[in-house]
């Protein structure tokens, strides 16, 4: 399935069909998730209504890490097999991943102020997520820093792979160090320690964020393919894209 999709022309066809369904599904699931998070879920017995921030914070954090894993895998595929869609996927995902990380940091700060009494502390969890945000920004900057887009893509892919060491640090920071941030309460040995009434809206919001990401990923990959094709057409004329079914498009113009 993946290898069949991994042809730019076929990718354009399939993604064109899937895109409206993904968009509709993400809007619907996010709508349900918002009603659930803001209205139906009960206030926490200790945190009160401020716990509702968690329904945005936790899914954003999961997406921030998940999208980075995806970029790392795409970078590996791009470096080893030189597949053109892999670079495009990584670059299309990065800005959305940075957005999720920013939302995670901002909502965490807005929760930390009333709960911990501080907007920010240099605790291992918070610091390693801030590092993740800078990894995203560095990747985006590096990819676009070269005149030769394929060199930019290679440099970005290398940075993305090196940066992977930050992900286990984020995950285990709450166990390795004495952090102010609470330890894991969902993905932990012995099952989640959160009540179902809060776990369900958390899952719905995570699914909504995931669908939104997939929608944006496909959309942004299509944009890049369009732009590369237009560049190839204007530079080399119709011959450049005539046999695009069998050959990959040249990597011209990053992002």
């Amino acid at each position: 399935m993946l290898t069949r999709l991994a042809n730019p022309a076929r990718f354009m066809r399939v993604s064109g069909v899937v895109l409206p369904w993904l968009g509709g599904a993400s809007a619907g699931v996010l709508g349900l998730g918002l009603v659930w998070s803001l209205l139906l879920a009960p206030p926490d017995y200790q945190q009160g209504e401020s716990v509702r921030i968690m329904f945005v914070h936790v899914p954003a954090a999961m997406m921030a890490e998940g999208v980075y894993y995806l970029i790392a895998i795409a970078s590996f595929v791009a470096l080893v097999w030189r597949h053109p869609l892999a670079d495009i996927a990584g670059q299309a995902a990065a800005l959305i991943g940075a957005g999720f990380t920013l939302v995670c940091l901002a909502t965490g700060s807005l929760w930390g102020r009333p709960m911990w009494g501080a907007w920010w502390v240099w605790d291992a969890r918070l610091t390693s997520v801030l590092v993740l945000f800078f990894l995203y920004l560095g990747y985006i900057a590096l990819v676009n820093a070269f005149d030769d887009a394929s060199r930019g893509a290679r440099a970005g892919a290398l940075l993305a792979l090196v940066g992977v060491v930050d992900l286990p640090i984020i995950k285990f920071s709450v166990n390795w160090w004495n952090t102010l941030h609470q330890p894991a309460s969902i993905l932990r040995v012995g099952g989640p320690s959160i009540d179902v009434s809060m776990l369900l809206p958390l899952f719905v919001m995570t699914a909504g964020f995931g669908l939104l990401f997939l929608w944006a990923l496909l959309l942004r990959m299509r944009t890049q393919l369009n732009e590369r094709k237009a560049r190839a057409l204007s530079l080399y004329g119709p011959a450049a894209v005539r046999d695009e079914e069998s050959t990959a498009l040249p990597a011209i113009g990053a992002r």
Partner: protein
Amino acid sequence: MNAIESWFGMGGYAGFVWPAYGVAAIVLGGLALYSWLRHRRSNAALARLQGRLGTRE
């Protein structure tokens, strides 16, 4: 009326809960809108170019 007011009040945490949802809506909604507009622009530019060169799929 009172129920709505107390909902907006968020048990005293209104100043933190609403900005959190607002930040998420602005950042994620903004990125979605930006990506969508850019996709539309790239579609139009490619179609114009293909029309000029006479290459249609």
